[in-house]
């Protein structure tokens, strides 16, 4: 039996999702069509609606329906600190901590030289422009602690420092409440390397 081309097209389309291979895509497609047609229509509509209404915040580059997102529009927040993250999900994680009162910038990616992803493939130029608004005093680099996130942090730090900005990097080490006995050795080793004076 051959798969009808419209079904084949749906399966192909679902494969754009991260971590979704041919098997999962076909499972999802059959689920939507057989068991949840209303859900499928809703999903189709939601995707179309999001595509039509969402754009990037003029200041921080995250997704927003307005020209400027709620965080950037909030007068209570400090304009002196700018926290740089890779993705909007990272921004949300930091927001949940309630530990940060400054503003954000979302790169929408990271530098990955071995994959050929360079400064032109992320919002690098926009960040330089944003950080040079005269109000930002400190740029806090909160890219991931992967080798790519570290490389991105270094590149941004050098570039921003050359423009006279103060640059900091979020700290890494043991998790809160973490016991040495249960932490993985590479984290423990790095915590020793990056120990601080008391």
């Amino acid at each position: 039996m051959t798969v009808p081309s419209s079904l084949q097209q749906l399966i192909q389309a679902l494969k754009v999702l991260p971590g979704v291979g041919p098997k999962s895509a076909s499972r999802m497609a059959y689920h939507l069509l057989q068991r949840d047609q209303a859900g499928a229509a809703n999903l189709a509509h939601a995707i179309e609606y999001a595509m039509a209404t969402l754009s990037h915040c003029r200041h921080c580059n995250t997704f927003t329906e307005a020209e400027v997102c709620d965080i950037c529009a909030d007068d209570e927040r400090s304009r002196r600190q700018l926290c740089v993250v890779e993705m909007p999900t990272d921004l949300l994680m930091i927001e949940q901590t309630l530990a940060y009162q400054g503003l954000y910038f979302v790169l929408m990616g990271r530098l990955s030289p071995l994959d050929g992803i360079g400064t032109k493939d992320i919002a690098f130029e926009r960040l330089l422009e944003r950080a040079s608004d005269g109000e930002v005093e400190e740029v806090i680099l909160a890219t991931n602690f992967t080798v790519e996130g570290e490389a991105t942090a270094h590149y941004l730090a050098e570039t921003l420092r050359a423009r006279g900005l103060k640059v900091s990097r979020i700290a890494r080490g043991l998790p809160v409440g973490g016991e040495l006995e249960h932490v993985d050795p590479s984290t423990l080793a790095q915590a020793l390397v990056e120990r601080r004076g008391l």
Partner: protein, 253 residues
């Protein structure tokens, strides 16, 4: 005694599948693979460059994930006869700090060279040792050019020698000896020729220092960088090295 039931066709015994245990290795790069796995481009001591799939490491709470770090010495175990092996175990060995800053970008540069130039499944144990040493040196290098460049030049020379493309630095292309005090140009694929206008020129003393991997002098470093670029050009072709571009960008800040 009753006959035994018809024998089942013998399954390929586990012992037939090639297995590698506790192999010293570095991960050069990794890619998302299928739904929950990662594909590792690995440089191992005794089996050279191998592609290994680490199954299930993308799942939350995977034990292996924290061990699969680039620029960290690992002991890997894998099995499989095909082009892509299956990871069985990974043990983080420790002893090297995680690279950061300029030394980290230099580490990426070494990895890009190896990924572009090293054929798969050919053993280069001496080169592996040189890579280990280079990563160790980068790990204790200061965040500045003067500290990392000798490490890069020395590894480049070792890599060219391992691949059989090292420039001959102790005589001219035709075999004639170098004349002390003279300058020479390098014609890739041919060798040293008497200095030519419009081409980089190298001093004999500098060529001797490069040949001996003595990169502790600014003049040697400057000329070595040019010479290495000329020697790598025919191997790398027109494809630009992304890491080299990043390093150049930072230099012109």
């Amino acid at each position: 005694m009753a006959d035994k039931a018809v024998r089942k066709p013998r399954r390929k015994a586990a012992a037939d599948v090639p297995r590698v245990d506790a192999q010293p290795a570095f991960i050069l790069h990794q890619y998302a693979y299928r739904e929950t796995s990662r594909l590792l481009d690995v440089f191992s001591r005794d089996l050279g460059r191998v592609m290994i799939v680490a199954r299930g490491v993308q799942r939350p709470g995977s034990q292996l994930r924290g061990s699969l770090l680039a620029f960290q010495p690992l002991l890997l175990a894998w099995f499989g006869a095909g082009e892509v092996k299956t990871l069985h175990a990974a043990e983080w060995q420790g002893g090297l700090p995680q690279l950061t800053g300029l030394p980290l970008l230099c580490g990426f540069y070494l990895n890009e060279l190896l990924m572009k130039l090293l054929p798969r499944e050919d053993a280069y144990p001496a080169l592996f040792g040189a890579y280990f040493a280079a990563i160790r040196q980068l790990g204790c290098s200061a965040n500045e050019r003067a500290a990392v460049e000798p490490v890069l030049r020395s590894f480049e020379l070792t890599l060219l020698r391992a691949l059989g493309y090292a420039p001959t630095l102790d005589r001219q292309a035709g075999g004639a000896p170098l004349q002390p005090g003279q300058r020479y140009s390098y014609d890739a694929g041919f060798g040293l020729v008497p200095a030519r206008d419009g081409l980089p020129q190298f001093e004999v003393a500098v060529l001797q220092a490069i040949s001996a991997s003595c990169f502790d002098d600014d003049r040697v470093l400057g000329q070595a960088k040019l010479l290495m670029r000329l020697a790598f050009a025919p191997l790398l072709g027109d494809a630009p090295l992304h890491t080299r571009q990043l390093l150049i960008d930072l230099q012109t800040l």
